[in-house]
């Protein structure tokens, strides 16, 4: 009875599309040209939305905004692998996921303006409103997955969070419960290397984030989060497995937050330009474009067309958002409970003056 090895693990990493736009043959999933174009068009949508949102903030026309620049592959790539019937529990940096699922851009802008009507998710989307307290959305996803399993619904639930989110107790409690109950849930960590000013190394001593899954008895995989094919493939496999009763999967998308944390932040205070530049060369859009060019799926004209179409869409959404009247102050009473309490009825009278 010597000292013995009783368990071992190996953490896999998936890379398909490299920075030159070359895809690994055997690993490359079979994707229709339409889907690949959709990926590209979503990238443009996300990037355009992001640019407009940053500008609108700079002009004081919306409030604090959290940019998704650099994380397009992680967000659009994973969202595209989902069905409309799947449920999504995002954090606050998932504008790209919302947009990819068809959430109206003007509502996102409303949200970032502090207008809560922006969080009245359209009835045909099973995506939860933005969750600000980091990590707290994880148990919600687990509970929804438990409910789906109990009801026999063949859906998957996806929870998004950042590298910082993995430090929170709720992350742990949620993943552990998902493991025990073998729930149809996929945990997608966008490891963008920073939690405001805290670099990954100070967030956790774990070499990969993917390996944290093994603490909960299910598989974790690391993917190049700037590689839309890898993200798509890993997510697709995970949601399929979830729907088939195979239990949870953890996906670490290794990516980078190209912007400041939010418009309230100044990243120059704590990180080097060299680091940012290094990641510029790993841009998810550039490599997708190179790939498509090689396949004959991209031309200058197509590129221009998409850009213009997208700009038009976003500008229209901005106009619509800006022409929306401010919410009725009474809304805060109306939605606190299903019915007003007697005390609220009295208090509401203040607003009538």
């Amino acid at each position: 009875m010597p000292e013995e090895i009783i368990e071992s693990f190996q953490i896999r990493r998936l890379d398909i599309l490299n920075e030159k736009g070359e895809a690994d043959g055997p690993l490359m999933p079979s994707l229709s040209d339409d889907l690949i174009k959709k990926m590209y068009e979503l990238f443009i949508l996300l990037r355009t939305f992001d640019r407009y949102a940053l500008n609108l903030h700079a002009e004081g026309r919306i409030g604090t905004y959290a940019s998704v620049l650099g994380q397009e592959a992680s967000q659009a790539g994973s969202a595209l692998a989902l069905e409309k019937s799947d449920w999504i529990f995002p954090s606050f940096r998932e504008s790209g996921v919302y947009l990819s699922m068809g959430f109206p851009p003007r509502m996102l802008l409303q949200y970032w303006s502090g207008d809560e009507r922006g969080s009245r998710v359209p009835d045909d989307l099973n995506i939860f409103p933005v969750c600000v307290p980091v990590g707290t959305q994880v148990p919600h996803a687990v509970g929804a997955a438990a409910a789906a399993k109990y009801k026999g619904d063949k859906i998957a639930v996806v929870s998004y969070f950042g590298d910082g989110g993995t430090s929170k107790g709720d992350f742990h409690e949620g993943l552990n419960m998902a493991g025990v109950m073998k729930l149809p849930v996929v945990f997608i960590c966008q490891n963008n290397h920073w939690a405001i000013s805290v670099p990954l190394k100070q967030q956790t001593a774990s070499k990969t984030i993917a390996q944290k899954a093994y603490a909960y008895g299910f598989d974790g995989i690391q993917v190049d989060g700037n590689d839309v094919f890898a993200v798509y493939k890993a997510t697709k496999e995970a949601v399929d497995k979830a729907r088939q009763g195979g239990g949870p999967t953890f996906i670490e998308c290794v990516t980078y937050r190209m912007s400041d944390h939010t418009t309230a932040d100044d990243a120059k205070r704590y990180r080097s330009q060299e680091e940012v530049d290094m990641w510029k060369s790993k841009d998810p859009l550039l490599r997708l474009k190179l790939f498509m060019e090689k396949k004959g799926l991209w031309s200058e004209q197509y590129g221009k067309e998409i850009e213009e179409k997208t700009k038009e869409i976003i500008e229209k959404e901005v106009r619509e958002k800006e022409s929306t009247k401010d919410p009725d102050p009474k809304d805060m009473f109306t939605y606190t409970y299903t019915n007003l309490t007697p005390r609220q009825v009295k208090q509401m009278k203040d607003l009538e003056v």
């Binding site: 449920w87 529990f89 809560e116 009507r117 969080s119 009245r120 998710v121 009835d123 939860f128 409103p129 307290p133 707290t136 994880v138 148990p139 919600h140 996803a141 687990v142 509970g143 929804a144 997955a145 438990a146 409910a147 789906a148 109990y150 009801k151 107790g169 709720d170 742990h172 409690e173 949620g174 552990n176 419960m177 025990v180 109950m181 809304d331 805060m332 939605y335 606190t336 409970y337 299903t338 309490t341 007697p342 005390r343």
Partner: protein, 320 residues
């Protein structure tokens, strides 16, 4: 009609609601096979199976967080927190989420969950097992707080809580679990949330209390022409019943077992002062636990109000 104690009455409410509605599921620590450490969920595991009486890992924030996800998805989860002292790790989920799902999503999503938890003094259990921090929850718009005081109202209120479309915290006085028995009808009946009851009529002083303290208060009231109001729901609370009584008696003593400062009694007193002060013949008095770290078994009897402390306040207020 069966004569039940509070554990049995709550158990019956759960059983009937689970029978009636497939979307009602129970989750928590030891609620399944063991039937709960107070046996409140006894028999439900055998009847409804592990899918509907879920023994969770030891993780209160996870339990409440998962219950929120279930509720949003369309179930009606009834989560048990083993003791109120262990609800604190779940406060973030309650304050930041359960209470806000409806408001945040402007009604697209709602959160019809119930969190049951035993609370309060009197069972001589170790530290953290006898908390009474209802005031924290009553300061949280978006959740309701219900505190039954007898087997009959426990069943009726729990049924209403489960059917309520908003999140409800349901506080069960551990001291009462087996202390009193009374007739509890089988089958459906429900008591509306937000309504107090007059547990005893009287005209010279109004005693306001809830949950475990009701019984001591009733005892203390004996021999006086005292009205006793059992709030039953703390949030939203029944101003009307209280004010009616205050207008009649002009004297108010509030009894609770939480520390005085910022306890729920403060709100009652402040509301009365604001709305019906001109009817008062005497200052509103509060008989409460002291502003100290809650002591354990050896000193707990000195900590919370007992009959004699309540009587002393009644005597004093009657002097005005």
């Amino acid at each position: 009609m069966p004569v039940l104690n509070m554990v049995q009455a709550i158990n019956l409410a759960l059983k009937e609601e689970m029978q009636r509605d497939d979307s009602v599921v129970i989750l928590g620590e030891d609620v399944g096979k063991d039937g709960g450490v107070f046996r409140v969920t006894e028999g439900l595991y055998d009847q409804f199976g592990a899918q509907r009486t879920i023994d969770t890992p030891l993780a209160e924030s996870g339990i409440v967080g998962a219950a929120i996800g279930m509720a949003v998805y369309g179930l009606k989860p009834v989560a048990e927190i083993q003791f109120m002292g262990f609800i604190y790790p779940a406060l973030d989920q309650i304050l930041s989420h359960a209470s806000r799902v409806r408001a945040r999503s402007r009604g697209r999503f709602s959160c019809p969950l119930v969190i049951r938890t035993p609370y309060g003094i009197g069972i001589k259990a170790p530290e953290h097992h006898e908390e009474s921090t209802e005031a924290l929850l009553c300061h949280t718009p978006g959740v309701k707080v219900v505190v039954p005081s007898t087997p009959y109202n426990a069943k009726g209120l729990l049924i209403s809580s489960i059917r309520d479309p908003d999140p409800v915290i349901f506080l069960e006085a551990a001291r009462l679990y087996r202390m009193i028995k009374e007739e509890v009808p089988e089958g459906e009946y429900s008591l509306p949330l937000g309504q107090a009851r007059t547990a005893r009529e009287g005209s010279s002083v109004t005693l306001i209390t809830w949950g475990s303290m009701l019984h001591r208060t009733l005892q203390a009231a004996e021999g006086y022409d005292a009205e006793v109001i059992d709030l039953m729901t703390l949030s939203p609370f029944d101003e009307e019943t209280i004010y009616k009584s205050v207008k009649k008696t002009g004297r108010v003593v509030i009894v609770h077992e939480a520390p005085k400062t910022c306890g729920f009694g403060a709100e009652l007193s402040a509301s009365i002062a604001e709305d019906v002060m001109l009817y008062l013949k005497a200052p509103v008095m509060r008989v409460t636990a002291y502003d100290v770290v809650m002591p354990t078994a050896k000193l707990e009897d000195y900590y919370a109000p007992d009959v004699s402390r309540i009587r002393k306040a009644v005597e004093e207020i009657l002097k005005y």
